[in-house]
Structure formats: structure tokens, C-alpha cells
Amino acid sequence: MLAFKLAIKNLIGAGLRTWLNVFVLSLALVMIVFQSGIIHGWDVQARIDTTEWAIGGGEYWHDNYDPYDPLTLDDGHGLLPPELSGLYNDGQAAPVLVTQASVYPEGRMRNIILKGIDPDQKIIKLPSSQMAGDTSVINALIGTRMANATKLNKDDLVAVRWRDENGTFDATEIRIAGIFRTNVPEIDNNQIWIPLDRLRKITGLEDNATYVILKQGITSIPTVPGWIFKDRDSLLSDIESIIKAKSIGGIVMYIILLSLALLAVFDTQVLSIFRREKEIGTYIALGMTRWQVVRLFTVEGAMHSVLSIFAAAIWGTPLLFLVAKYGFAMPKATEGYGLTIAEKIFPVYALGTIIVMTLIILITTTIVSFIPSRKIAGMNPTEALRGKVQ
């Protein structure tokens, strides 16, 4: 208790030196909480957006379908089995047919993925209803990324070429009926959505589907021969891997930030012991044991972290709260990363992270304060009293 009382007096007495260290430590703490909040917030938003826009409550994939291998698309489809047709008819599922195609915007050719989905579906957020209406032309839907890449605008007509089930090329003009904005690139990049029945018709794949998206909240998952069920977690595993990689990158940043702050505390401790030898000698002459003095200097150093936690709470809490309320705008370029990133990320601060980081800062600051303070135990008090550097 005595060490705490004296340490607080000494720290406050040290003035600017103390407050600079406290500020640097609090900056590290706030930055770490902020960065982990951004990553956590991104994770939460990416999961929600991907679920709402692309994967719903999980997907049934045709046995031969592999989204990472376009060559599988030729065989990666099949007749919708009765179990899944039932779900579709009950409004519990949305079948999607996928085929390769080419599009010719402004006379340039571009290989794309052509996807068919029911315009009336309510399973995912894709505004498929914009494809309904005038049936004299195929109404298509594209995302903003695809629109930017192809320079296509709403109501533009563009030629599309595909192969039917026999491998015969066919082509027609489609109309861009709508352009949607989403944070989920996996339903936007290089893709054109058209009504499912039109795609089935032009490819000759009547009643076929490549995968079927289930409505969120469905608990009964029937086993369907020839179709593999992918639950939400397995469909989100890519995002999870990316977030994990980002988190590891974040940890490196935390270590760098914390090391810089701890270096400042270590430096102050070394300087303190060097400059305050006479004071150390006086403490010993007045009856403190050497280890009491070591403890005093260690507590003094460690108290930087306690003060920094208070400082971080004072200036960091409102700042972090504001960012959590108004969001953190991501640079425009992130749209092209191919990752699910919102235009604005709303950080989510995990209490566990804050507690763990606070404890880490407390413990590491105590350790870096103790290391130079140990030197006091070996000091000759008579030399220290004279302020002679030992």
C-alpha cells in the first residue's frame, strides 16, 4: 500500500514525463481496441451481409458443382429433386441455375457467369423482382461492380452468348433492368442474373438447378441424393479464413504498438534509476529495504498502465463510441478486393478483448518496469547517496 501511495506521488510529481508515457500507453490501448473492433465489426457485418444476400440458411449443391472450377458448370446441374421442389414451392428455397456465357458490352467480349433465379424469390436480398415485367426481352440484373467493369447502365441492351445443353452456341440481347448495390462481391463480380425460367429455356435445362438457397431459420434439412447440403458455417468459412488472417495481421500491429509504448516506459524507468540514484540512496538511508525500493520503482512504472487505462477510458471511450455509432468509412478501392466489406464498417468492441488487452498492458508494463528496477537491489547505498552512477 505504501508503495502505491508513494508511486502515485512520485508519478504526479514527475509531471510531463509521466503524462507522455500515459498518453502513449493509452493511445496503444485505444488503437488496439479500435482495430480489433473494426475487424470484429467487419466479421459480423460480412457474415450478416453474406447470409442475407447470398447464402440464406444454407445451400444444396449439385454433386458436380464446384464454384471455384468453371469447367464443372457443364455438368454441375440436375433436375430439381422433389424434396427441394417442395421447399421451393413452399417459398422456403430459391433454386439457382448457373452457366458460363459471354457478354459484349461496347463491342468487347467478356466471359461471365450467367445465373438464373426466380424473380419472385424472397429468400435472399437480391432485388430479383426488378427482372419481372416486360417479357419481350430478357430482363437482367447486375451489381455495381459488374456495371463499373462493363460500363453498362440501366436499360442498356447488351448481347449475350451461351451454349445450350447440347453445346450449341446461341445468343440474344438482354436488357439491364436493374443495378443493385451490395457489399457481397460473390453475387456481383462478373455475374449477370436473369429470370430462372428464361435461363432454363435458353439452355434447354428445364427444371434444372445448380444450387438451391434455403430460407434462413429452416431447421429440417432433408438428405437429398445427388445433392450436398452446405450449412451456413461451411459457406462462411472463406470469410472466416480471411478474418483470421486479418486478425493475425492485427496481432502483429498490436505487438508493434504495444512494444513502442512499453519501450517508452522502459526508457523512463532506466532514466529514472539513473537520475534518481541520490533519491534511492535516501530511501535506503531512511530505512527502506532495497527490495522495497525495487517494489516502489516497479509499482511506479506499472502505475503508468493504470493511469493509461483511466486516460484511455476518458478520451478513448467517447471516440470509440462515436466511431461505433457513425461507422468507419472504408476506402472506395476495397470494393475491388473481392471480399465482403461494407462501405462503412461499424466496429464491434468485445468486452473480452478489452479486458485481455488491459491485463496484457498491466502485466507487460509491470515486467518492463521491474527489469531495470532490479538494478537497485545491487546498488551500494553510500555511492547512491552521493548520486554516483553505478
Binding site: 505504501l2 504526479i12 531512511l286 530505512g287 529495504t289 532495497r290
Partner: protein
């Protein structure tokens, strides 16, 4: 103090130095700072070790103050042998029974006058009320009651040394060791300080042992122990 470390002393003897030798390494050889000193100080003395620079005064005071160990011989302080005490036991003995006054005051710069004087009582774990009473008494003895809230940087040299005296006296120690206490003070302040210490010696029966070569201090001493080249060359009692 543990019983086995206590040494029987004559009734009024509180410091006993026996065949004390202190050598310091110097280059390839050794420098003998103290060479077989024998000395006894009794309770309530106002005595001083005098001599030129390098004669061993401060070394002797440091050993008596248990801040340093003798190479040979022994110093028995309040019945405890310096050779037998552990570093921790020596610290506890200093904390309870010894007061120090230094040439450069050695006040803690971030503490106020009150806090500086209070420091030894914090180590003795006294209650806040007891501490306040004792500190205010000590500051009154040295005439600094009006400076309780000042920091050392706001005080003159004489005032700083008076704070140091208050700090040394606040716990009413058995022995006060003062190493060149007037070296940084002008004549007026020196006399003021010395009169204060003499009064405390007479009122509280505290034993004062000085290390000095200042004539002003010597003129107040009741016993003068002259040290030359690490040996006691003269030990005289002065009747005033």
C-alpha cells in the same frame, strides 16, 4: 532485534566501534579509509568526528549508520553488531532508531515539506493522525510551520536543511548522524541549524554524531573526535 544478535553494552553506550578497519579497492591495490578505530558514544552526546577531507569521517558515519560494512572489526549500534545484521535487519534498525542529515539535504523533490518530514513515519506505519501530530511538532521545532505546503525547490538552503533535520527528528530516533550538515549554508543559517540541533539534543536527549571540518560546527560540539588518515588522533571532551 533477534536476541542472538544483541550484544551487551554498558548502560549508556549506544555506539561502540571496535578495531574498525575499512579498505576500498583502488586500482590494483587498496586504500585504507579507516584503520583500527576504537570509539564509544554514550546516549545524549553531541559529538563530532572532525578532520580534513579524506580522513575517513564519512566512511565512519556510513558504517555507524549501517549503510556500509567494515572490512575488519565491528560497530555495535544500539546493541546490534553491524557484522551480524542482514541487509534487511539493518534497514529496519535505521528505520526505527537512526536519523540522517546530509550535506546536500537529500529531500525528495516532488514531496512537500510536510510529506518529506512525514516519510519516515510512513515507513513506521503510523496512523495519519499520529503522523500529522508528529510532523507538525517536528516542523515547529525547526521553525517551518508556515512552509508545510512548499516544495524543496521553493525553499532556501537553510530551510531545506531544517526540513532535513525535521525529517531526521520526527520519529524521535536514538541517534542522528549528520554528515557535513552546514557545508552548503551561510554562517547565519549554519548557526541557526546548529542551535536547533543543540536544543533538540538537550530537550529530547537525542544523540548527535557529526562528521565535519567546519569550525562553526566544531564550536558547538561537546566532544571532538579528530580523525587523521583513518585513525583517531585525538578525542577530547569540551566543557562549555
Amino acid at each position: 532485534m533477534p536476541v542472538h544478535k544483541s550484544i551487551q553494552m554498558k548502560n549508556t553506550e549506544i555506539i561502540s566501534v571496535n578495531s574498525l578497519t575499512k579498505r576500498f579497492p583502488m586500482g590494483l591495490g587498496e586504500f585504507t579509509a579507516l584503520n583500527g578505530i576504537d570509539l564509544t558514544i554514550t546516549k545524549g552526546e553531541f559529538s563530532g568526528v572532525v578532520g580534513p577531507s579524506g580522513s575517513g569521517k564519512t566512511t565512519l558515519l556510513n558504517i555507524i549508520g549501517l549503510l556500509d560494512n567494515p572490512t575488519d572489526g565491528d560497530a555495535v549500534i544500539l546493541g546490534s553488531s553491524s557484522r551480524a545484521l542482514s541487509v534487511r535487519e539493518a534497514a529496519i534498525l535505521r528505520r526505527k532508531h537512526l536519523g540522517f542529515i546530509f550535506q546536500t539535504y537529500n529531500l525528495l523533490p516532488v514531496y512537500t515539506v510536510f510529506e518529506n518530514a512525514e516519510f519516515p513515519l510512513l515507513l513506521l506505519k503510523m496512523t495519519a493522525g499520529e503522523r500529522k501530530r508528529a510532523v507538525l511538532d517536528a516542523l515547529e521545532w525547526v521553525g517551518l510551520s508556515d512552509k508545510v505546503g512548499s516544495k524543496p525547490a521553493q525553499l532556501s538552503g537553510g530551510e531545506c536543511q531544517r526540513v532535513a533535520i525535521a525529517r531526521a527528528m520526527v520519529k524521535r530516533p536514538e541517534i542522528v548522524l549528520a554528515d557535513e550538515p552546514t557545508a552548503n549554508l551561510d554562517a547565519e543559517n549554519s548557526h541557526h541549524i546548529l542551535r536547533t540541533m543543540l536544543k533538540l539534543n538537550e530537550d529530547l536527549k537525542t544523540t548527535f554524531l557529526f562528521a565535519t571540518h567546519d569550525d562553526k560546527v566544531i564550536s558547538y560540539l561537546k566532544r571532538k573526535i579528530t580523525l587523521i588518515d583513518g585513525k583517531v588522533s585525538r578525542d577530547e571532551t569540551i566543557i562549555r
